[in-house]
């Protein structure tokens, strides 16, 4: 199997390159899966953690805040996965002290920036999850708004008669989204953690 350098992997993540993403999955997932299953998690937990760890790395890359001096991509990925799983265990009130540390990790990457980014990722992930549950019409409409497409153009694309209606529809969609987020127990937990 072809292997890629860390630099190639990072570039691939930034470009959402299918081959690189497949490579990452095949190369590293099973170790994360093994670690999580050994520590009271399930297959689904492992998938979620692995996926979110890649997203966290992508966010870091976007912020130009990822340099491997002492570590490698593998070390960084495993360390992020481990930290994400520790947070989950904390939420589920499971003792972290008895952790079966089968994943090689680096303590020194656990700085405030990373923890802040992980918290932001968790919160934004929740918002985005609910966004995906909206009707395709609502999703499209909000997407156009966030892409700063002019109101007139939005009305035309969506087939609305007036700009005013497009604006009203947008508020309705957003209100529905906010309502769903507020009703989510995960959101309430995040708020509790913040306070």
């Amino acid at each position: 199997m072809i292997s890629y350098t860390d630099a190639q992997i990072l570039k691939g993540i930034l470009r959402h390159d299918n081959l690189i993403l497949q490579y990452i999955y095949k190369q590293y997932y099973y170790k994360v899966n093994y670690f999580i299953k050994k520590n009271q998690g399930s297959e689904d937990d492992a998938s979620d953690i692995f996926q979110e760890a890649v997203i966290v790395i992508y966010r870091k890359l976007k912020e130009n805040d990822l340099i491997f001096e002492k570590s490698s991509f593998q070390g960084y990925l495993f360390s992020v996965c481990r930290l994400l799983w520790l947070k989950q265990l904390e939420k589920r009130r499971i003792e972290k002290e008895k952790l079966n540390d089968s994943l090689p990790y680096q303590e020194d990457i656990y700085d405030d920036n990373l923890i802040e980014l992980i918290e932001k990722n968790e919160k934004y992930g929740l918002y985005q999850k609910h966004f995906k549950t909206l009707s395709s019409d609502c999703q499209k409409l909000l997407q156009l708004f966030f892409e700063k497409v002019p109101l007139k153009e939005i009305a035309r694309i969506m087939g609305y008669k007036t700009e005013k209606y497009a604006k009203t529809r947008k508020f309705k969609c957003k209100e529905l989204l906010i309502k769903r987020i507020k009703q989510d127990t995960e959101f309430k937990k995040i708020l509790e953690d913040d306070t």
């Binding site: 199997m1 993540i13 959402h16 299918n18 993403l21 497949q22 999955y25 095949k26 190369q27 997932y29 099973y30 170790k31 899966n33 093994y34 299953k37 998938s47 692995f50 996926q51 890649v54 997203i55 992508y58 966010r59 976007k62 089968s102 919160k123 934004y124 992930g125 918002y127 985005q128 966004f131 995906k132 909000l142 997407q143 966030f146 508020f171 957003k174 209100e175 989204l177 906010i178 987020i181």
Partner: protein, 501 residues
Amino acid sequence: MTPKTELFGRIEDYCLNLLDAREKEDFEKELTLNEELRDEVKLHHDIQDAVLELDVIALKASLEKIQRENTLNSFENGSFALLEELDEIKDLKEELTFEQLIDTFESLPKVHVYQHGKTANENIHRFYEEQNGSEMNGFEDELEGIELEELDGLEEAILESDILNLRDTLKQVAKSVEPQYSAEDIDSYLNGEMGDEILAEFEAELEMNQDLQFEVNLHNELDNALGEFDVMNLRDKMKNIMSAETSWNVSEQTIEDFIDGMLEEDLLMEFNAELKENTDLMAEVSLRNHINKAIGESDILSLRAKLAHARKESEKKEVKSIVMPQFDLKSTRFWRNSVAMIIVLVGLMGALNTGLQSVDKTYNKYFDTPTWASERSINTSSVDEYQKVRQYFAEEDYTKTIELLEHTTTTPQEAFVKNFYLALSYQNLNQYDKAIEAYTRVIDHGDNLFIEEAEWYKSLCYLKLNQKNEAKNELLAVIERKGHYENNAKAIVRKLKYTIK
């Protein structure tokens, strides 16, 4: 002995001073000697005094009256003059909106106090007190030893039950009242579209109001999160890869070489290292091992073939039952044995199935012609026209179905219904290329309820034609929809990876 009634008469006369001098002297002489009589006389005296205390009785009645009047007055006066305009509420006959009620009367707290006063003496309150009796006792125990005088005003504060109630009511009212600023206002504020006058008011409120701060923050975060379409795309991509790809990092050839014991030392060490932790790879190796073992049982395979042949032969001879009475013992035993063997082999075939399924078997497993349901997408006039077609389709006469469908007049908007059933009919007649063309037309229409099904059946057509890449593309589209066929599509994608030869 003096009868009791006579004795009571004499005691009463003595107490009321009605005896003459001689009778009185005799009675008092007896009184000094008889203790029982003395007690009786004392009791009579006490009763007499109590009955004669009329002034006290009158005073008690007056006090009760005053107390009753006080209770009534306190209810009518209300607390903090909250009920000054209560008559207006009492006289209300029209139905008011929530805002009118709040604006006109500032009424909710008043109504609460009014209701509270009205129900203060009802049994429910006493019942509530009884229910909470134990709690109150506990509270009193806790207070024991604390000098209440030292806590200045505490007693007064506790007794201000009306204020406590009012505070609770206000909390409830605050909870039930809609936020002052709508999502639209908050968006206008965040987009800098708020007018100057309202903006000043909004910002002043924002500074003081924590709830509003929370709402603005949430809107802000939400705008940022929803703008992250790149993150959402990446997440979707990862999800698709993880659902469709195998999670092991070795080629099929390496797995086969490992099973055959052909792996070189370095590769073997690497493979074993992964095998130790990768549960998916463990399962794959185990499956392949079982398949190999099953295939290796050539004796059972040949026996299966012989049995199948024997069964065909027996069917030709119209053997309908295996327990026919005219069978001799030897023959019955033979059939019993055969059935047992068939059961064993059916089980073995199940085990073999996962590994040996050919394209055809996969296709047959998943292809199932749906029932006619054109009504879900065409108007009633067209429904009549489709009646005959439906009949042919139900009778599985697909040639006639195609003939009729080709001649139906359909609007371009409803052509997808015709195309879908045309495609299904072609598929049933094994004309897969034509079926694919018709399914493509349904999918390209872009806005109908048959698209997911069309993608699914189209993928099966590709599968039958052994065009694996095209089949995989269609299956991935089905998976993406997360609909009815998602799991079946995932299963086939996995098989396409490493089972179908």
